[in-house]
Structure formats: structure tokens, C-alpha cells
Amino acid sequence: MDRQQEYVLRTIEERDVRFVRLWFTDVVGSLKSVALAPAEVEGAFEEGLGFDGSAVEGLARVFESDMLAQPDPTTFEILPWRGETEQTSRMFCDILTPDGEPSAADPRHVLKRSLAKAADMGFTCYTHPEIEFYLLKSAEPGPDGVPVPVDQAGYFDHVPGGVAQDFRRTAVTMLEKVGISVEFSHHEGGPGQNEIDLRYADALQTADNIMTFRTVIREVAIQQGSYATFMPKPFTDHPGSGMHTHFSLFEGDTNAFHEAGAEYQLSKTARQFIAGILRHAPEFTAVTNQFVNSYKRLWGGGEAPSYLSWGHNNRSALVRVPLYKPGKWQSARVEYRGIDSAANPYLAYAVLLGAGLKGIEEGYELGPAAHEDIAALSAGERRALGHDPLPSSLHDAVRQMEESELMPEILGEQVFEYFLRNKRAEWQDYRLQVTPFELRRYLGVL
């Protein structure tokens, strides 16, 4: 028993914690939870908690469904929204096979493996996400079939006495209580749309934080009588919810992306990392944008980046190299703007990091930066400049992922296979639908 485990057990005792929730994530990114009585925690540390994995998406094959959930004591937190009496806490789990090996199908393990690869190359990876979401009056759409937002404000608007402002204050307090530092929060472009930026942390911790974040936001919304959604594009006419993420690689305490005097202070490593992301983006888009709805955001105009490009402070580029204050070389980083808020953060970060590392390993060359608004260029201009489009639909993305050799390497053959199967099925279901659009457009005239 290590000290961290002892700490957890002591806290459970001292704070009178009544329930310990073990959290893990399935392959499509849904949070799963098992509640334990405090007395069972010690056993779970030592031997893991057995459960039937066959019921969980992508976790196990039917004929070998026994799995173990092993709690990671460093992720122990008290859940503040459950109130002060009869406290509830949570820990993230690693999923193990019955013989104690990491399960190849555990998304957390997939990310850990990518991070281990980075570590083998001498890098630590830090990430910092900007998460957008909509606050709605309820989960049910309004009378016209469109969701009803809580307000009609816009970007950075201050709404006096607004639901959203109260909401953000409570949410940020709650996040800080579970140990998630918030950098920034504000009203976003769409009505009822908010953005909360988390402080940078190592990639695994960030992914854990994002899972917690989604839960906290939903809980707080419910407490306040509204509903929060991370759906990539709930409104046809308003911007979608992205999860722009900033990446940086450190070698020891040196920022490997920084090189004084180079163009945009970008080191060769950073350029290769970006080149890796751009080259492999079409292959991994099915992961970073995993739902049918995701492509409505990607191709819905606005700020969503839909073409392979990078630029310095260019808000239409897929990869952006942000400005930072002179001397603050520690903050050198690159921002990937393609991910949406509904991605499975473990897998999304694993593929992005893996693609970037591939670029470094193979020494990819990075093309010139884009300076103009890429969406405003003509198709011919874009082709001439080499700004190929991202996949245009989930179907297209799945097809491109199937061709990839890098994705199975990063995700592992089993997750790769399962993920594709799951997404093909989703596309199949979607294709069968007769949509309101069709009814509106055709019913009266045909």
C-alpha cells in the first residue's frame, strides 16, 4: 500500500465519506461509474474490482467479459455537489484484464501508452483545453423543434443577473473544489453558449479533468434548473461547441516548441509536430469529431476550421500558433482547433499526440503558414495552396481512418477495430432517418 492509497483511506475515514464512485470511460467517451462502500476500497486498491465488461461499449468481447477496475488513488476527489452530509467521492480507474494486464480496450490506457511513447522520446506533454457548451432551458427542444437557450447574449457579453453568469460562478467554484484549475470563463458567440478554459496540466490529467468537467457542468446546470449540452452543433444557425486544445512538449524543464529567433519562435520540433498533425488529421478526424453531428460543426461555417492549414494567430487555421508575451517562452504551444466538445478526450489526445510525435520521428517538413482567411478562399485557391479539406462527414472520416496505418498503431488494434465498427453502425442508423429538413423541403412539393 503506498502513501497515496493510505491518504485516500484516511480521508474517507476522516471526512465520513459514504460512497466512493469508481469512474472509467468507454470507447466512445461516456463516463461509467460504479459505487463502492468505503469498506471495499482497500480491496479494490489491492486486487481491483471485478465487473462484467461485456455490457460496456467496446470494453470486452462477450466471451471474456470479466474485467477489473483498479482505482488510481492520485485522482481521488470529494464530489462537492453531493452535499456536505454523506459525502461522495470519486477516483478514476484503469481497466485491467483478469490476469492484471492493462486492457487494450481501456481508452485511458491508450493515452497512457501514447504518453509513454512521448516519454521514451524524452517528452512530457502538457495540454490545455478551451471547452465550449450550450446552456439550454431544458433537454427537450422547444415547440418549433429547436432547443431553447437560456439567454440571447453573444461573445464576451455581460448579462446582468443572467442565468449564465450565476452558472459560471457556481461551476468554476465547484471545479476548483475538485482540484480543477480554471483559467478563464466567458460567454461565447451563440445564445446560451459558454466557454471555460482549464489551466494546463499533463495530458492524462487534463483528460481526466475533462471527464470530471462535463459531469460538474451538467450537475450544476441541473441544480440551477437548466440543461448543459456538449453536443457539437445543437443549432443550425449558431456556432458549434469546439474544444480547442493547446499542446506543448517539454524536455525536462525546457519547452521543446520554443526556439528563440526562429520564425514565430517555433522550434524544428514544433514544426515537425504540426506537420505530423496536419498530415494525419484526415485519418484521426473520426476520433476527434466522432459523431454525425460533429460534421455539422466542422462544415457549418463560422470559426470552425475545415481545411488543413496552420497559421500564426490565424483564426481560420486548423492549427494555430498563438502569440505569447516576449520572455514567456514556457508558454510556447500549438493549438488544435478541430476537436469538438463531445470527443473522447483520452482517444482524441492520444491520436493528436501520436500524430505529432510521428511527425517528429519521421522529420516531416511543414509547409508555409497561412495568412489569409482560408474559408474565404475559392476552392481552386485552396487546392493550389495545399489546404485539403477535412473529412466532410462521419462516413468520409471512417473511410479515411480505415486506410490509416498510424491509427491502429496508436489506438491498438482492438480499440481501432471496435471504434470503426461502432462508427459504421452510427452512420448506418443516421442514413435511415428521414429528417425534418426533408419533410419541410419535399413533402409539400413532391
Binding site: V62, T97, E101, P408, E413, Q414, E417
Partner: protein
């Protein structure tokens, strides 16, 4: 002249001509010759001592003053109390180290070091004294908490290094003059570590002075630096020259970032002071690569940062490295805090996941990476080397020291003593191990001392070996030992170390298991269990029971097994399932009873016994067969016995058996026994790495063919009886048997053809043929009395015949001709691609194949036919896969599995074999190659398909060999996967990689298949 030669030889010189020349040198003029020879005789290498002396006098004439002048009457024997010559130190040093002689030549000011008092049992210089001396040399105050040097730069480096080498010389002299080099070895290693620590302290003082320029003296003074020794430095058993392994800890109070920056600068400064090129050469490399994240990790960390890493990220082996961690230099309180914090992590590492694997990795480190050229000369690596001793000791510490704190000394010699005192190693073994270790270390010390070069190789030159032989014996030698004696002794020690490992580890387990009290070691049952578990035995209680059974009693076998079992247990532990291996060994041993060749094999054929252990612990299939035919164990010792018998040889044997046993029941029994025997032979040869997957397939196919041919003759004879035969039957192989691609679990797919003999009635002939075929099948599958145990029954499967299950089992040649002319479905045509006559009349075979060739290699294979084949394949894919099976893991019907590759090849054969003769083969791979060469399949595609097909075939075989059962799926339990991976040629511990490889290879093959087959 001849008298000089005699004197030289008498005094141990080797290079007479050169030494005679040096003796005539001007520098030696006026010295007393007898005294000089008496002195040189003390040197391990008189030639080298003489040359060095001449150089030394040339550089520092005052050295000559120390030596007796010619004519001066000196009573050389009695002028010293203990009888030593006054210049003993000088001559012993010059005869052992050219590098230190050069140091004196460079620095004659330090000649007074030759006045070091020498003794048979020298006293150690304390670490504190060394630290004081080296700090003073760079002008730092030893009493200060944070000593800062007065000197910096080259001046400081030279002062530090010169003082270090002075102490090194002093230590070398005491070491060389000690009566027993083996006795003082641990003390010398400890003092060398202390000296290195003192040098690091002085270097840190210099680095502080230098860093003050850039970071400011106050800032530098705020940062505390602890240096933790690792490896041999940590264990205080350092070599004369080696890298000094360290880790740096910093503590800067509030400002951690500053502490890291300055700490890193100080660490770099230390390295510079010790190891940068300079007038006084560099000392050694300060190696911090054992730190977290290795050379990519930050050079310095805070204590918390180390602990965070060890708790969260560290690999199992890193805890083993921490076994030696010791606060060595710099801030010792900081280092002590580190030691204290990591101790619990080290001693609980045996409970960690992956401990057994990391032990196995440790074991591999003993024998890894020895360049062939060095194999015979290595002192450190290899079986019986220094690392082998260290592995044994550390493993015992890791297993037992959790419960027993007295077992935690870092130094190897001290750990051996502790393990002996606590009763974990027998007294005799402990002494042997300790002495062997000291002996090897002294060899290493003396070799390194000569040129102060890092080497672990025995010298080659005769004269160096001779001087080494003297050096190891020490000053009390009566005569000079020769090089042969040295090598012989060394080999003896290596052999002893090799045996000691198994003895020390397993002998006490045996003693406990059998309640023997022969030795003084008494392990508790818990300790036995811990040991067995550390080596991979899961059921320690069961293992103990088997051991009891194997060594109990007074039989010769038990006595022999008592001797051998330690080694056997170790070999079994290297397999996938040691428990099953041990059980299997017990069964085989009991079955073989007292047959003398078995005992002889165990005793005299190491390789055979090792193979046996390997097979038993990784194959249920072979174990089962060996148990019922234990005499086959004899093959293990003889590769000639493991060459599969050719078909002809088997056929000859069967014929002779049949002629002697006309009774069908007897005959078929012998035929089936031969097949069982050959299957075992193939499996054992396969397991010994003598057969690849293709040869295994061909050999299995031959064995089946011989059995079927034999059975056919028996069946015919039985059915014909005394009446004249009416027809002749031909058995045609189909499917995998047709392509000679059998696995251990393959049924034989067949077609039966007959042709009535001239004059016979067609109906009667048909009836007789049916009787023969039924008899044939029954003969091969029917249970016999007494039963043939562990036989994998050969099932004849005629499902591929025209009309499948609905069609008649056997048809006449004419009926086939008629049938094919009228009907012939595409799948029947496809099945015929693999038809190969196997048993029966040759003329009938020729006629049948001529008929078949026209059908299976059609001139016009239409688009519609191709579409039909594709459609059937698609339907098979969705229907034939067993319910619940994962298509990705099914080797036969799964994606990219055997059937995908075979269907693709067969489609190409149907389409093109008519014009491409190379495609007319029953072998999948041969046809695939032909298709590739004809440009019908792209080169890369063919390669992907071949890889997948071979891997799937291997997995299928491995499944049978490992479990003894047929299975067409890639296993999912880790243990099964590990076993199958090893049978597929992966190294231990590669189960996950193997699984990924399999899924990847088949995924790619499937992509090729979909593109090429479905189009």
C-alpha cells in the same frame, strides 16, 4: 651474458632482451644490483617495474637515492621490523600499475606517498579524512556546511585530480602489499567509493565557487545538493576505475525553479571538475543515467519530484536499482531523507505487478550482449561472471528482505554474509559464493589497475596473464604461478558460480520439501513459497508436493534427482507454466521408472534435460504424449532422432509390421502407434527449433498419408477375404492434406474413387468399394483394445465429394467423369484445386488426375463463375463463423485468416491456371508465389497475404501444442497468449506485442483480400 639471462628468468622477467637493455640504462648506474633484483622480484610484472623505474628516475633522480648504492653494505633482510624491504611499496606499485607510475612521473612532488606504511593487514583511511584532504586541496573549508572552493577552473581541476590520484596511489600500495588480496577486497572497494565521494564533494565545492559568478553567491548558498550514489558507488564496492553512478537531489527552500536551475549548473560543474580534459587527465565519468526517465529526464530533482516519479511512473527494475542507493556526498541529510523515503518502495517491489517479469529481465541481463570475440574473456557478463553472483544475491534480497531487515546491506559481500547468518544461504555455499566473488573482483581490480582503464576482459598476452597470476595470489607466494594455472582456476570459479545459483536458490527448497536436514539452511514454508513465487511457480504448495515425490526415498533415481532438481527447477521456471512443467516432469519420471538411459540422460546430457524442461513447461500436447510414450524422451538428447521419418521410411516400417501381423486388428494398432509416435517426434523437433512451420506441415502430412495407405491395404485385404478382388480404391487427398499443409489438429479431407477390375460386375464393384471405404474409416477411428492413449485420431472427412453429404461416399472413375461432364458446381471445382492422390493404385490415380485437371484448370472461367465463388465466400463468412466468435481473432474463418488467403489464391488459380502452369499447385504458398511472379498479385500484396497465412497457421499449431486441444481462435487470456506467442517465435514477455502483430497482420491481409477478391 648468460648469467644476466639466468638472473632475469629467476626473478620472473619475461621480455629478457628488452629488460636487459633497460638494466644497462644510465639511470640505474651506481645502484646495487642484488638489491635491485630483490626489489624487482617483488613486482608482479618485473619487466614493467623495471621500465617504469628507469623512467621515474629519469624524471625524478631523487628516487635513486631511496635505493641502496653499490658497495654500501646494507643488511637488506633485517633493517625493518616486519622483515619487509624498505622499497617494497615502490616495487610492488611499479610492477602493478603503469598508469600510477606515470602519475608519479608527472608529479614527482608526490613521491613521498611511497613512504606509506605498509602492512599485511592494512588499515583503511576513513572517508572523513579523504574528504578533508580533497576539500583542502581545492581550498575549501571541510568544517563548513556548504564548502566553497577558493580555486576555480583548470587550477582547481588539476589540484583536485592530483590529490585524488595521490590517495589512489596510496590505496593501491596498501592493497598490493596486503597479505591476502581477497581479504582486503571489500575494504578496498569501500575506500575507493569513499575516495570518489570525497572527489565529488571537492568538485561540488569548486562548482559552487564557479556558479557564484553567474548566479550570485547568495543564491548558490541557498541551494542544497545531495548526491546519492547508485550501483557500485552506492554499495561501496567500487572498482579502481569505473563510472560513478549518482543521482542529484536539490532543495532550495521556497524557490524550486531556482533550485533546479542552480542545481543543474552545479551538477554540470561537478562533471566538469572531475571529467573535463586537462593537464592532469580526467578521473572518471559521473554517470547520472539511472535517474528517472534516464538520460532524457531532468538532471536534478527535488525529493518530492523523485518520489512522485517512483510512485507513479517507475518501472519495476528501477526499484531494483534503488537497492544500492546511498547518501554519498553533498548534503547528507538530504540524501538520508531520500534513502528513507525510497526504502519502502524497494522492499515491497516483490509484490508489484511485473515483478516476476522483471526478475526474468534481470536474469537476461546476466547473459546479454556479449560480443562473440569477448565471450571467453568476460569477467563480468555471462554465466559464472560477476553479474551472475550479483543477480543471485539481489534476487534473494528482494524476495526475503521485506520481512527481514537484516538482509539489506548494499555491498555484495556483506549481503552474502547477512543471507548466511539469517539462514537463507547455506554456510558452505555462502563461503563459496563469497570467495568466488572476491576472486573475480580481485582479478578485475588488478587488470584495471595496470592502465587505469575500464575493462572487464581477461588479458590475452602471456606475460600479462603471468603477472595477473602473481597479483591474485598476493605477496605471500612462494613461487611465480603460471598463466595456465590462473586460467584453470578462473574457469573453476566460473563453473562453481554457475552451479551455485541453482544450488543456493533451490537446494533449500528441496531440503524443506523433503524434510532433509543435510544442510544448515532451514527455510520456513513461507520463505519457500516466496522463493518459488518469485520464480514464477504459482502453486507453491503443489510444487512442493511434486518435489517431495521426486526426491523422496532412497532409490538411485531419487538420489540423482536430488542432485539435478535445482537446475531442472530453474529451467522449468523459464517456461510459460512452470507448475504444469513440474507436474509433467514428475509423471514422465515416474513412467520411466529406473530405466538406466533416462537417468543417464539426465546426468550426462544437459542439453537434453534442458529441452525436456522447456517442452514440459510449455506444451500440454507433448507432455501428454510423452507420458504415454516416455521412451521418446531419449530423442531429446539426439538431433538425429528428431529428423522426421520420410514417407518412404514409414511405409517400409508399416509394410514390415503388416507382413508379420496379418491380423487386421494387430496391424492397424501398429499403424496407428507409428502415426502417434511420428506426431510426437515432429512436435518435439518443432519445439527444439529444428523444424519450421512448412516442414512441420509436410511431415505431419506424410505421417497421415502413411497411416492411410497402411489402413487402406488392411481394409482391402479384410474385405477381399479369400475371393478375388472386384475393384481397386483410390484415396485422393483434398483440403489442407491435399496441399501438404497439415496442422497438428487437421482432419484428412478426402475423395474416394474406385475402378472395377476387368470383368467385375459394376454394382458388385461399387458395393465392394463402399465396404472398403467404410472399413478404412473405421480402422482409423475405432477405439482399440487396449486403447491407444493420447492419440489424436485421424478422421477421414469426405464432405468435399460431389454433392457433398448427399452424394455417394465413393464413386467409380466413370461416375466422376459423367458427373463432372453434366453438373459440377463452382465450389466443387474449387475444392478439386487441392486434389492430390494419396493412397491406391497408381494407374487409377493418373487417370483420375487427368480427368480432374481438365475441370479444375478450366480454359474459360467465366465472370459468372467468379461471381458465384465470391458470393459463396461472402455467405460462408457470415454463416460459418461460430456464434459469439470474434472475427478478428478467428484464425481460420476470421478476417485476414487462412480462408481469406486460400480463397483468394484459389480464385486466381481458377481464372488463370489454364494459361499459367505455375499456378497448378495444391500448395497455397506455391500458388501464391506463382501468381505473384505472373503479375496477377502485386508483390506487396502477396507478401501481406503470405505473412498472414503463415502466422495464422503457426497460431493454429501453437494452440494445439500449448493446450493439447484444437482451437481456431487467438487466445485472449494472457497466459495462453504468452505461450502461443513463444511458440510463434516471440521472446518471453511479448504477448501483447504478439497480439497486436497478429491483429495488424490479419487486418492488412483482409484489406488486400477485399480489394483483390471482391474487387
Amino acid at each position: 651474458m648468460s648469467s644476466i639471462t639466468r638472473t632475469l628468468i629467476g626473478n620472473g622477467f619475461s621480455d629478457l632482451e628488452k629488460s636487459a637493455r633497460f638494466l644497462a640504462a644510465g639511470e640505474l648506474e651506481g645502484l646495487d644490483r642484488d638489491a635491485l633484483f630483490a626489489g624487482l622480484a617483488l613486482a608482479n610484472d618485473p619487466d614493467m617495474a623495471l621500465q617504469s623505474l628507469v623512467w621515474l628516475i629519469g624524471a625524478a633522480p631523487e628516487v635513486a637515492q631511496r635505493l641502496p648504492r653499490a658497495g654500501a653494505a646494507v643488511d637488506r633482510r633485517n633493517d625493518d621490523d616486519d622483515g619487509a624491504s624498505p622499497n617494497e611499496a615502490l616495487f610492488r606499485l611499479l610492477g602493478a600499475s603503469q598508469a600510477l607510475a606515470e602519475f608519479l612521473v608527472r608529479n614527482p612532488g608526490h613521491l613521498d606517498v611511497l613512504d606509506t606504511p605498509i602492512s599485511a593487514e592494512p588499515a583503511a583511511v576513513t572517508g572523513a579524512a579523504l574528504r578533508t584532504s580533497l576539500l583542502r586541496a581545492v581550498g575549501a573549508d571541510p568544517a563548513s556546511d556548504l564548502p566553497v572552493a577558493a580555486l576555480t577552473g583548470t587550477e582547481a581541476y588539476t589540484a583536485l585530480r592530483t590529490q585524488y590520484r595521490r590517495h589512489l596511489t596510496d590505496l593501491a600500495i596498501r592493497d598490493l602489499c596486503a597479505a591476502s588480496p581477497l581479504d582486503v577486497m571489500p575494504q578496498v572497494g569501500a575506500e575507493l567509493a569513499d575516495l570518489a565521494a570525497a572527489a565529488l564533494d571537492a568538485a561540488l565545492a569548486v562548482a559552487r565557487a564557479e556558479a557564484a559568478d553567474t548566479h550570485g553567491a547568495d543564491a548558490v548558498a541557498r541551494v542544497r545538493v545531495g548526491i546519492v550514489g547508485m550501483g557500485k558507488s552506492g554499495a561501496r564496492e567500487l572498482n579502481y576505475i569505473s563510472d560513478v553512478d549518482v543521482m542529484y537531489l536539490v532543495d532550495g527552500g521556497a524557490d524550486e525553479a531556482e533550485a533546479i536551475t542552480i542545481g543543474t549548473a552545479l551538477a554540470a560543474g561537478i562533471s566538469r571538475a572531475v571529467n573535463s580534459p586537462g593537464r592532469e587527465p580526467a578521473l572518471w565519468e559521473v554517470d547520472a543515467n539511472l535517474r528517472p526517465e534516464g538520460k532524457d529526464g531532468p538532471l536534478v530533482r527535488t525529493l518530492d519530484s523523485y518520489l512522485a516519479y517512483y510512485r507513479r511512473w517507475a518501472h519495476s527494475w528501477e526499484f531494483q536499482a534503488l537497492l544500492k542507493a546511498r547518501a554519498m556526498a553533498g548534503d547528507l541529510t538530504l540524501g538520508a531523507a531520500f534513502e528513507e523515503s525510497v526504502a519502502p518502495l524497494i522492499w515491497t517491489s516483490s509484490e508489484r505487478d511485473g515483478f516476476v517479469e522483471s526478475v526474468q529481465a534481470m536474469r537476461l541481463r546476466v547473459t546479454e550482449h556479449i560480443p562473440a570475440a569477448e565471450a571467453g574473456r568476460q569477467l563480468k557478463l555471462g554465466k559464472g561472471g560477476l553479474r551472475d553472483v550479483e543477480f543471485t544475491v539481489q534476487l534473494l534480497q528482494l524476495v526475503h528482505a521485506k520481512a527481514d531487515e537484516s538482509l539489506r546491506p548494499r555491498a555484495t559481500t556483506a549481503a552474502i554474509t547477512a543471507l548466511m547468518r539469517a539462514g537463507y544461504i547455506g554456510r558452505t555455499d555462502a563461503h563459496a559464493l563469497d570467495e568466488s566473488y572476491r576472486y573475480l573482483r580481485v582479478l578485475e581490480h588488478r587488470i584495471q589497475l595496470r592502465h587505469l582503464r575500464r575493462t572487464h576482459l581477461m588479458p590475452v598476452a602471456e606475460e600479462e596473464l603471468r603477472s595477473l597470476a602473481c597479483a591474485v595470489v598476493g605477496p605471500l607466494r612462494l613461487k611465480r604461478p603460471g598463466a595456465d594455472a590462473l586460467l584453470e582456476h578462473w574457469h573453476r570459479v566460473k563453473r562453481r558460480v554457475r552451479d551455485l545459483h541453482e544450488n543456493i536458490f533451490y537446494r533449500p527448497i528441496l531440503a524443506q520439501a523433503a524434510h532433509l536436514s543435510a544442510d544448515d539452511v532451514q527455510l520456513t514454508p513461507d520463505a519457500v513459497q516466496a522463493r518459488l513465487a518469485a520464480l514464477g511457480y504459482r502453486d507453491a504448495v503443489g510444487a512442493t508436493r511434486h518435489i517431495q515425490a521426486l526426491i523422496g526415498g532412497v532409490s538411485r533415481r531419487a538420489a540423482l534427482q536430488r542432485q539435478l532438481l535445482p537446475v531442472l527447477l530453474d529451467w522449468l521456471a523459464q517456461g510459460v507454466d512452470p507448475d504444469a512443467g513440474l507436474l509433467g516432469f514428475r509423471r514422465v519420471s515416474e513412467a520411466l521408472g529406473t530405466s538406466h538411459w533416462y537417468l543417464g540422460m539426465l546426468r550426462d546430457h544437459q542439453a537434453a534435460a534442458e529441452r525436456l524442461c522447456h517442452v514440459l513447461s510449455s506444451s500440454r500436447f507433448i507432455t501428454d504424449l510423452l507420458e504415454v510414450s516416455p521412451e521418446a524422451t531419449a530423442w531429446l538428447g539426439n538431433d538425429k532422432e528428431l529428423v522426421p521419418l520420410t514417407f518412404e521410411a514409414q511405409w517400409q516400417e508399416i509394410q514390415s509390421k503388416m507382413s508379420r501381423h496379418p491380423d487386421p486388428a494387430d496391424a492397424i494398432r501398429l499403424i496407428r502407434l507409428i502415426r502417434r509416435r511420428e506426431t510426437l517426434r515432429i512436435a518435439v523437433a518443432n519445439s527444439s527449433g529444428l523444424l519450421d512451420v512448412d516442414k512441420v506441415a509436410a511431415a505431419l502430412s506424410d505421417a497421415d498419408q502413411a497411416a492411410i495407405l497402411g489402413a487402406l491395404l488392411v481394409a482391402e485385404a479384410d474385405v477381399y477375404g479369400d475371393s478375388p478382388p472386384k475393384t481397386r480404391v483410390l484415396v485422393v487427398a483434398m483440403g489442407r492434406q491435399g496441399g501438404r499443409e497439415n496442422g497438428y489438429d487437421s482432419d484428412a479431407d478426402v475423395l474416394y474413387v474406385h475402378r472395377a477390375l476387368p470383368g467385375a460386375d459394376a454394382d458388385e464393384a461399387q458395393q465392394q468399394a463402399r465396404a472398403i471405404v467404410a472399413k478404412l474409416s473405421a480402422l482409423l477411428t475405432q477405439p482399440l483394445k487396449p486403447a491407444i492413449q493420447a492419440e489424436r485420431v485421424l478422421v477421414l472427412d469426405a464432405a468435399l465429394r460431389p454433392e457433398g453429404q448427399q452424394g455417394p461416399l465413393v464413386r467409380s472413375l466413370e461416375a466422376y467423369r459423367e458427373y463432372y461432364a453434366r453438373w459440377s458446381l463452382p465450389w466443387e471445382t474449387q475444392a478439386l484445386l487441392r486434389a492430390r492422390p494419396m493412397a491406391g493404385a497408381d494407374d487409377l490415380a493418373a487417370d483420375f488426375m487427368a480427368l480432374v485437371d481438365a475441370i479444375r484448370y478450366p480454359a474459360g472461367f467465366g465472370e459468372a463463375d467468379g461471381r458465384e465463388i465470391r458470393r459463396i465466400k461472402a455467405r460462408v463468412e457470415s454463416e460459418r463463423l461460430p456464434r459469439g466468435a470474434d472475427p478478428a481473432r478467428h484464425v481460420k474463418l476470421g478476417r485476414g485468416g487462412l480462408s481469406d488467403v486460400e480463397w483468394l489464391v484459389q480464385l486466381i488459380q481458377l481464372q488463370h491456371a489454364h494459361e499459367v502452369p505455375g499456378l497448378r499447385s495444391t500448395s497455397t504458398i506455391a500458388a501464391l508465389h506463382a501468381a505473384r511472379d505472373a503479375g496477377l498479385v502485386a508483390f506487396d500484396d502477396a507478401e501481406q497475404l503470405e505473412d498472414a497465412w503463415r502466422l495464422a497457421s503457426r497460431v493454429r499449431n501453437a494452440n494445439v501444442i500449448w493446450t493439447g486441444r484444437t482451437s481456431d481462435t487467438l487466445p485472449s487470456s494472457r497466459a495462453d497468449l504468452e505461450a502461443v506467442a513463444r511458440w510463434c517465435g516471440y521472446e518471453p514477455g511479448a504477448a501483447s506485442r504478439f497480439e497486436e502483430d497478429y491483429l495488424g497482420v490479419t487486418r492488412r491481409a483482409r484489406a488486400v483480400f477485399e480489394r483483390v477478391f471482391y474487387g
